[in-house]
């Protein structure tokens, strides 16, 4: 859908008039335009936009001649909106002191539109007029204008400082115009009333039924524009044939109807100083898993796959030649089954495809309709083999019948392969320890009652209070909010989340209030106690602190000669260990062995403290390696000054795992400083 907008804003002097304490219409109109352009910029549609101002002190438009079409300025010709336009709107558009006829401005827009859209492709043309209607417009050529608008198929939208609808007219949309505007339609000047009548006349001539729906007030528009546009994608048709056996086929067209949408853009990495992408280069090198990390040239690398413990070299060429191949695009029925055999929680993939007959083939339409209705009446689904094209692997899925008021279709959803399923068994909950009592069940019942999101209203119709599929993805909204903020206010911290977004994710207020008492009851009836966790994950900061403590200790106690070496070694060991990889573990063991040569006291205390930290840091694999290499404490037998006996040194590596686990929390409390100081 290419939609081209011609924004036409009144900047004349009356637009800056306002009652005390109210924002002048000019400011509101400017905000509407800003929000609107922002949305377009972030939606990255190919929609183009032009901006015309009227009531300007100067005149600049193609129609100006003989004093006609004065005080109208074409600010920007039709092009894709960008931040430049936003900056111009922010900095260059000010209230000015002239007045211009809004019908004249409309004519300038229509002229612009005619000239600039010639020969281009678009789906819809929209002229948006933002004005307070304070200037008398001459209705002489009104009918010609309306005719021209009609023939060109132009949609007109009006944004006014006041709502258009009032009860006498009856035509306006009460919801849209009336609410929140005390004194709607009142206090209008004679010009404004006349103008409004003219606007209504134009709009109703263009669209008798819904014409008045395209008249908005600034305030309501701002409310609706507060969220960024939802991601819209042009549906791409997937033409194919549905086949049943070898001789029955029906022409179909598939469209993605529901799809787990992602943001289109990813972050690029730039240099922090220059903000330039080209200043940063990423380079990948390959090396052997040996001590020297011998580098290997890219050309000397081939591809392989794991087959259990074996690694099988398997070149891309061979792989392509031997891989599973199929005939390409297909939608072939394997058979039909009861809908109850398909479990919703086994749906797989991240999309739903709706399948129609081609719009120009009514025979296909009838044939597909017969299938859809047959399935619907029998409560069955088709199990199909679906392949998007030759390059994609085929899937198995279910085609459900879907009959709506205005159309019929099949809905295709992927089903799992045997390899995709894991059958877990869980203990039964019918365990007498867990079976809730009648009183507990009734507490849950009242909770459910108080939290029902679907209720019948006075007219007996079901009302859903929270349709989550109408809420925009908060991740995208927040993403654009922050990007926009950074673009417009560089150098300032990111803003907090928008309040409307926060609220949209919460319980509806009515529910929150209603469920208070039942929740208290549930709390009373169901005792819940959090179980203390034995293991607490250490943050890297804590580990780092441990190293610092150790270095501090070294500074105090150690002989000047060995200190720098030991410090380097422990630092390096900790670095290596933080990688959690066998390769690095081996290296750190080498370091530990080197450390062993340096200082008995330091080494022993380090190793003891390291051992205590093993369970918390998940370094069991490393410890096993250390045990294998029999790297233990330095005993008296080896070095005279050591306080560790030979037996202790031997025991050090074989300590019972269980004991270790129980012991861990206590050492944690006292901390390392004490241990190390004790040694002094």
């Amino acid at each position: 859908m290419l939609k081209w907008h011609f924004l036409c804003m009144d900047v004349g002097f009356s637009m800056s008039n306002s009652a005390p304490g109210e924002e002048p219409p000019f400011e509101l109109a400017k905000k509407v335009i800003q929000k609107f352009v922002q949305r377009q910029v972030f939606a990255e549609t190919k929609d183009e936009m032009a901006l015309v101002l009227f009531g300007t002190d100067s005149t600049k438009n193609p129609l100006e001649q003989d004093g006609q079409y004065q005080n109208i300025t074409v600010h920007r010709n039709l092009m894709i909106p960008d931040f430049e336009l936003l900056e111009e709107i922010a900095n260059q558009i000010h209230p000015e002191s002239q007045q211009a006829d809004w019908l004249d401005a409309l004519v300038v827009c229509m002229d612009l539109l005619k000239k600039q859209t010639e020969g281009k492709k678009y789906d819809r043309l929209v002229i948006v007029l933002l004005t307070d209607l304070c200037t008398q417009a001459s209705p002489d050529e009104l009918d010609i204008i309306i005719d021209n608008l009609k023939t060109a198929g132009i949609t007109l939208q009006f944004f006014l400082p006041f709502p258009a609808g009032d009860d006498e007219e009856g035509g306006g949309d009460g919801d849209r115009g009336g609410s929140g505007h005390p004194g709607a339609g009142k206090g209008l000047s004679r010009e404004q009333e006349q103008g409004l009548d003219m606007v209504k006349h134009v709009m109703l001539s263009l669209d008798e039924e819904d014409g008045l729906d395209e008249i908005y007030s600034f305030r309501n528009a701002l409310e609706q524009l507060c969220m960024f546009k939802r991601i819209e994608r042009r549906p791409t048709a997937w033409p194919c044939q549905l086949t049943i056996g070898s001789s029955l086929s029906i022409r179909i067209v598939g469209y993605k109807a529901v799809m787990d949408e992602r943001l289109k853009k990813t972050w690029i990495t730039v240099d922090a100083q220059t903000n330039k992408r080209d200043d940063v280069k990423r380079e990948t090198v390959y090396c052997l898993d040996d001590d020297n990390e011998t580098e290997v040239q890219k050309e000397d690398i081939i591809q392989g796959f794991r087959y259990g413990s074996d690694i099988v070299p398997f070149s891309k060429v061979d792989q392509d030649q031997m891989k599973y191949k199929h005939d390409g695009k297909c939608f072939a029925v394997l058979g039909f089954t009861k809908q109850s055999n398909i479990h919703r929680h086994q749906f797989i993939g991240n999309q739903v495809i709706k399948v129609f007959a081609p719009k120009d083939d009514e025979h296909a339409g009838v044939a597909l309709s017969a299938l859809i209705r047959a399935l619907d009446e029998l409560n069955m689904v088709a199990i199909v083999r679906y392949a998007y094209d030759r390059r994609c692997n085929p899937q198995v899925g279910a085609a459900f019948p879907c009959i709506k008021q205005h159309y019929e279709c099949l809905m295709y959803i992927q089903l799992p392969f045997m390899e995709d399923l894991s059958h877990f068994t869980f203990p039964s909950l019918e365990n007498k320890k867990f079976v809730p009592t009648e009183a507990q069940l009734s507490a849950v019942d009242s909770l459910i009652d108080s939290m029902m999101l679907v209720e019948k209203d006075e007219s007996g119709e079901q009302k859903d209070m929270l349709k989550v599929h109408h809420i925009p993805n908060p991740a995208f909204q927040r993403h654009f909010q922050c990007l926009h903020h950074r673009a417009v206010n560089p150098g300032t911290p990111l803003p907090p989340m928008e309040p409307w977004l926060k609220a949209a994710l919460e319980r509806p207020e009515v529910i929150s209030e209603r469920c208070q008492a039942p929740l208290e009851e549930v709390k009373r009836k169901f005792p819940l106690t959090a179980v203390e966790k034995k293991k607490q994950l250490k943050t890297s900061a804590q580990i780092f602190a441990r190293v610092i403590v150790f270095i501090f200790f070294c500074l105090v106690v150690v002989t000047p000669v060995s200190f720098p070496v030991c410090q380097q070694l422990t630092h390096r060991i900790e670095q290596l260990l933080s990688n959690k990889n066998t390769h690095y573990y081996m290296k750190s063991i080498t370091c530990i062995q080197a450390f062993r040569e340096q200082s008995a006291d330091l080494y022993n205390s380090y190793l003891q403290s390291l051992k205590r930290s093993i369970p918390n840091r998940g370094l069991e694999v490393f410890w096993d390696l250390l045990v294998q290499d029999a790297v233990t404490l330095i005993s008296k037998d080896e070095v005279e000054g050591s306080t560790v006996s030979k037996n202790e040194a031997n025991q050090f590596l074989i300590t019972d795992e269980k004991k270790e686990e129980v012991a861990a929390p206590t050492t944690e409390d006292t901390g390392d400083v004490d241990d190390l100081l004790d040694m002094m």
């Binding site: 092009m79 129609f356 009446e377 993403h479 990111l494 819940l528």
Partner: protein
């Protein structure tokens, strides 16, 4: 420390993160291990009269299928195959008589699969008789030997399981010393965290678990039920299912709180039960030695060549021709909404859950009594009432740190069991991910005529002829199967890979025979005589181009001023790739890229300067 680390980063880091969100990766804290302890006594080899495989043969088929499934899905797991009641002995220190370690604990590979294959069928029985034979039985020794297998492993094991396959319910035939020894060793093993299961097989006169094995196996998680599947397995399929159900450890994706309101937190575990299996990624090997290579990615400054620390990098995106820059940690903070958890919003009747509201595979929720005591009871009460009242719970769900929230429907699922054969579906909530507004696309449905009742009835006959009972585990993924067959063939030096059966290929001949004349009858009802759905319909009616412009020409030469205008108005994106390529040629712009954006960027660089 962090800085030092950051020089070497895995290039795939970011991609993996994306993947993780999709498939839900597990935190790996160690290896899973599984020991098959198989009775090799004469009784195991007795063939059934009706040509059914012997218990031994059946067991070998199951072992093979576990081996291959481990290779496909979790090759890091360790598996061992040990026989007891053999004549010959073979074990690490040869300290146990009548215990034959066929495979010690290791990752399964092609060779092992082949070796298990050799034990199948009547030839396999002969081979087994020749190499191992049948002899005395001491379960105690066998278990002791297995204990040594575990303790010889230097790797961290996260899950240890031992499965005993036997058809003898009284292995020591009343020898109380051996009985006691067996019980002691079993209890030792259980104390070290090994879970012992019994896969008991058919025995004439029935298998009495209470006679001896009740004291050997690990008591079930659930005390109310004895957990002993008292019926022995007679069919291969049953045995396979029973083994498969036990073989994989339930791995929790994450544990978090389901918050009903302030201070009411039910601890739950999130499990994934259906995740698309993918071909494992290729490994880079050094051509000369076939050894795996590691990749290191360095980020450096193009001009100065110096390495860049993370603190010297920022992230950016371009919108509306403007580059917007953020700190790396700001990018993370944007994603964060709240801590991981599930928050109850309210309840809705089941019919409000639309079939087409599907964006991701579901996950499964089960209470974690170990984290919050009382969770199971409240969870069970919610489940019960939701199920009885046909409701689902609507929740906001943040799966991990720095993940944005999603709305989910908790759909109750009651436990279903097959008599004697174990659980079919466990009790718990299925978590269905719901779409946001962005995920739903607006479609223009074509207006087409509907079928008459006569036409519908004919189709109903066709549908009824092709009915079958769908089972979710009935279809294998042909692409993945082929991949592993290829690898198997290469690993085992086979001439050609084993053929796979493409189970998702329609059986056209069968369908045609079943339908018979129905197809023609249906076609006569819906299609006119000259209609052929295989060909495209006659050329489309030309619709008046509402743009009022010229017709599309196959190739449009773009005048320079128009191109410049496009650059000026940043509307290059509207041009097609061939036109852009032409323009590049014309202006002597050299591009290496073929992507549209790359062409556009190159043109802008050339023409705006």
């Amino acid at each position: 420390m962090a800085e030092w680390n950051a020089y070497y980063r895995n290039e795939d880091d970011e991609e993996e993160q994306e993947e993780g969100e999709q498939s839900g990766e597990y935190k790996v804290t160690g290896r899973d291990s599984l020991v098959f302890l198989v009775d090799a006594s004469k009784e195991m080899f007795i063939k059934e009269e009706d040509g059914k495989p012997s218990n031994f043969d059946m067991t070998m088929q199951v072992v093979r299928s576990v081996y291959t499934s481990k290779i496909t899905s979790s090759y890091r797991d360790l598996v061992a195959l040990v026989f007891y009641g053999t004549e010959q002995s073979k074990n690490p220190r040869n300290s146990f008589k009548h215990v034959y370690v066929y495979h010690d604990l290791d990752e399964p590979g092609a060779k092992r699969v082949q070796e298990v294959d050799e034990l199948r069928g009547s030839k396999g029985a002969q081979l087994a008789a020749k190499t191992m034979g049948s002899g005395e039985t001491s379960l105690g020794d066998a278990l002791w030997c297995c204990a040594n297998l575990y303790s010889d492993i230097k790797l961290r094991l996260s899950h240890k399981r031992l499965m005993i396959f036997t058809c003898r319910d009284d292995p020591h035939e009343g020898d109380s010393v051996k009985d006691r020894q067996g019980r002691t060793k079993a209890s030792d093993l259980r104390d070290t965290g090994v879970i012992i299961n019994l896969m008991h097989l058919m025995k004439p006169g029935g298998f009495d678990v209470s006679l001896y094995f009740r004291d050997i196996i690990t008591p079930p998680e659930d005390e109310s039920d004895l957990g002993l599947q008292l019926e022995p397995c007679a069919k291969l399929e049953d045995l396979q299912n029973r083994v498969r159900a036990k073989e994989k450890k339930k791995r929790v994706l994450n544990r978090l709180n389901l918050c009903l309101g302030e201070g009411i937190n039910v601890a739950v575990g999130v499990y994934s039960t259906a995740v698309p299996a993918r071909k494992p990624p290729p490994i880079k090997l050094y051509r000369e030695t076939n050894e795996p290579v590691r990749s290191k990615t360095r980020v450096f400054h193009t001009q100065t060549g110096s390495l860049l620390l993370p603190s010297e990098l920022k992230k950016a995106q371009v919108y509306g021709k403007k580059q917007i820059v953020m700190e790396t940690d700001e990018v993370d903070s944007i994603k964060k909404f709240e801590d991981p958890g599930m928050f109850l919003i309210g309840f809705k009747p089941m019919e409000k859950l639309k079939l087409h509201h599907h964006v991701r595979p579901a996950v499964f929720l089960y209470p974690e009594e170990d984290d919050v005591k009382g969770s199971s009871c409240l969870f069970s009460a919610l489940l019960k009432r939701c199920s009885e009242r046909n409701m689902f719970a609507l929740c906001r769900f943040t799966a991990r740190r720095n993940y944005s929230p999603r709305f989910v429907a908790l759909v109750p699922q009651e436990e279903e069991s097959d008599e004697g054969k174990g659980q079919i579906t466990p009790a718990g909530f299925n978590v269905i991910y719901l779409p946001f507004a962005d995920d739903i696309r607006t479609l223009d449905a074509p207006q087409l005529p509907c079928a008459s009742q006569e036409q519908v009835d004919k189709m109903k006959q066709i549908v009824t002829k092709l009915r079958f009972k769908y089972r979710s585990d009935a279809f294998e993924n042909p692409a993945i199967q082929q991949h592993f067959r290829n690898l198997e063939a290469l690993a085992l030096d086979m001439v050609a890979p084993e053929d796979i059966e493409d189970l998702i290929m329609p059986k056209v001949d069968q369908i045609d025979t079943r339908l018979g004349p129905l197809v023609q009858e249906f076609k006569d009802l819906v299609y006119p005589a000259n209609y052929n759905p295989e060909t495209k319909p006659a050329a489309k009616r030309k619709t008046a181009d509402n743009g009022g412009g010229a017709e599309k020409k196959p190739k449009v030469e773009l005048p320079e001023d128009e191109l410049r205008a496009h650059v000026q108005n940043s509307t290059l994106g509207k041009l097609t790739v061939p036109v852009l390529k032409d323009a590049c040629k014309k202006f002597g712009v050299r591009t290496t890229g073929t992507k549209k954006q790359e062409l556009i960027d190159a043109l802008i660089a050339q023409l705006s300067s």
